[in-house]
Symmetry: C2
Subunit: 413 residues, 2 copies
């Protein structure tokens, strides 16, 4: 792919089978939004849904909505919908709490199911909250477990009889590197280890087959590719074969076998409902349902195909246009091990991303030196990525990033 | 108080200093809503706020809203506002997760701070999720702790040197009995125990003085008297004097000292921010802020005064009108130990509550035989409670509750 021009990208837009979905989002005029892997944009349907949940279900029906509007069943109903996006048959996914909390629940269950082994195996560059929750859990359990962090390329060789649970983020948040879920899960099982996969950068972005891969536990995020809104509730998965005997350390009343008996003694609910804890956040969960419904309507295979095309082309365009600059690809060039993002290292990455944002190209920065671009086929056009590459070239050529106020890093997510 | 008539209640409405607040809620026409202690109704301001958060902050500003719209600071900003309602100086309250999760965090911290003692003391009839979370925590910690449940009247005599933490719900959810926060906290401290108070039925309902009572930890609910919406985020409190050394078992990335450094190793944030875990649920939290803002604008002492008047009068009206029926008051007759609800035992409680709801008087049922009515001075009129008592009398006199479909209990919260 050399000598790419804007016409090439324009032609691809004209034959894009997903083109109609862009109209279903409210996107700021003139902005090229390549940060849907941090916060997905607002589906237009969500506006009406939120108004209805507030005014009709909450305002008019009040507590009767727990039954009448299906609030009480939302965690499992919405979980089953998400299950369709991640290759999970019904009854194995629930929406509850945050990704962090769900990491804690699932790792705690996995350790309890594997009491003779004491290592949680993960990678140095796993998303920090997964590692932090593991550290908190290990402390709670009295320190007899340990967290072993290895290089992503070396996971297989560290899978041995000591490992209780292998936990990985399926697609690395910084680099976009995708791990071999089927292969690593099988290897873990060969050693007697369980697996817990974090799908934060996978669900809604690419094909995931939890059941077929024989995954044990999984968690994921509602506010990235699922477009569920800022801080949307998270989800988790427990394979059917474990549902008779997994434990729930955060044993709240809505995970009780009979919460409205108000008994003093905890008795876990059957199946995945055990992973409920407190009262579900109805407003946030309703918004998430709108994002999930749209994802289900679209064809995930078509999404993946366009995503790979977008990431291939963005890499090619940036490398063609910016070849004189010290950009170094952080994302796998091999599309088979790539998620739905493209990241580059650059020593001035933070300032460059600020300049891009000032020019309406919104990606984000990840320490120490990564500029990160997420590709979301439902609303990202081929011409958007060409235009983004041209703007990046201009910023690099003119050193537009070299401003004192951009030397100071601010909080972003 | 004998020979009450509707005129008496009408006169009280005409001089009620809080009368203007009722207009700030969207209340279903014709309904007498006495269930604000289960789910507070919709503040009208919340409708516009939710639309703005979705369309402007999320839809237009997208990720920049983490700074620009103050999303990142919401947990502490809103925490400080709630602090004003519960007698907590700034920097001690945060909004995060659910009440259940916050029970776990605070009990875990209390046990870690009191390593030589191994009893969690509470009451048999504490709200079940508080007890369930304690049981889950004890299991996680390997079983060296125990949960001791005693009768509410006998708490003081069970406070001894074995007790690591005393945990009580300030106002009992079934009976409305209010415990002596200052006295029991002082007695707990005398024994070397810490305290964790659940304010689910106190915050926004009556005067609470956490700092003055020397409370150690507290948690509370956003969707009851704070009118934050179904499943609203919860809050928690840690006294300043403990903030240098409390632990956070659910050590998520937003409780890290520097979350955006993305370091692999957990380092707790200073102070109350440590109790953050995952990404805050912005939509739900924005709705909660509307409810809290209204509560702050009203005078909590005026709220308490009207609440006591409402509960005194409801007891009197029901006892006057329904004296021939087997209703037995479950709530303290002594207003000094009463929260903001009135509960009665009746063998047919479930069916009676269904009949009341069918007649637009909405309270709720709590097993095994309690009908429960919550009193919320910002929107409950004196005439409402007279009318509710008259309707209750009619249902009892005519046995309108005696229908087969009301023998079958359904899920309610």
């Amino acid at each position: 792919m050399k000598n790419l021009t804007r016409e090439h990208f324009l032609a691809l837009d004209q034959t894009d089978p997903l083109v109609a979905y862009r109209e279903q989002f409210q996107l700021p005029a003139g902005m090229i939004y390549l940060d849907g892997n941090s916060l997905g944009p607002l589906p237009k349907a969500t506006i009406g849904r939120l108004a209805n949940v507030a005014q009709q279900e909450w305002g008019e029906w009040l507590i009767t909505s727990w039954n009448k509007a299906g609030w009480m069943d939302m965690p499992t109903r919405l979980g089953d919908k998400i299950g369709q996006l991640i290759g999970a048959a019904a009854g194995q996914v629930i929406v509850a709490d945050s990704t962090s909390i769900n990491v804690y629940k699932t790792l705690a269950a996995a350790l309890a199911m594997n009491p003779d082994k004491h290592v949680i195996l993960s990678t140095h560059d796993n998303f920090p909250t997964d590692l932090y929750m593991a550290q908190g859990l290990i402390d709670q359990l009295g320190g007899k477990h340990s967290l072993k962090l290895v290089d992503g390329e070396a996971i297989a060789e560290h899978l041995n009889d000591d490992v209780a649970v292998l936990t990985l983020t399926h697609v690395n948040y910084k680099t976009g590197r995708k791990y071999d879920m089927a292969g690593l899960t099988a290897k873990a099982h060969d050693c007697g280890a369980l697996t817990m996969w974090d799908l934060a950068h996978s669900a809604g972005a690419l094909t995931v087959q939890l059941d077929a891969c024989m995954v044990d536990f999984a968690v994921g995020c509602g506010y990235k590719y699922l477009n569920g809104g800022p801080g949307a509730p998270a989800f988790l998965y427990v394979a059917n074969r474990h549902q008779a005997n997994f434990s729930q350390p955060l044993s709240g009343w809505l995970g009780h076998a009979n919460p409205f008996a108000f008994d003093w003694k905890y008795e876990p609910a059957e199946g995945i409902a055990r992973y409920m804890c407190g009262t579900p956040p109805v407003l946030s969960m309703s918004a998430l349902e709108c994002g999930v419904d749209m994802m289900i309507a679209a064809d995930i295979d078509a999404i993946r195909e366009k995503s790979l095309h977008l990431t291939d082309l963005f890499i090619a365009a940036v490398e063609q246009l910016c070849e004189d600059h010290p950009l170094r690809l952080a994302t796998p060039r091999d599309r088979n091990i790539r998620g739905s993002q493209v990241s580059f290292h650059h020593p001035e990455g933070y300032a460059i991303m600020q300049a891009l944002i000032a020019n309406q190209v919104v990606g984000d920065f990840r320490a120490p030196d990564i500029i990160r671009f997420g590709f979301t086929p439902l609303y990202t056009r081929y011409t958007d990525i060409w235009d983004a590459a041209v703007i990046l070239k201009h910023i690099l050529d003119t050193k537009a990033w070299d401003r004192p106020e951009w030397k100071q890093r601010k909080k972003v997510t």
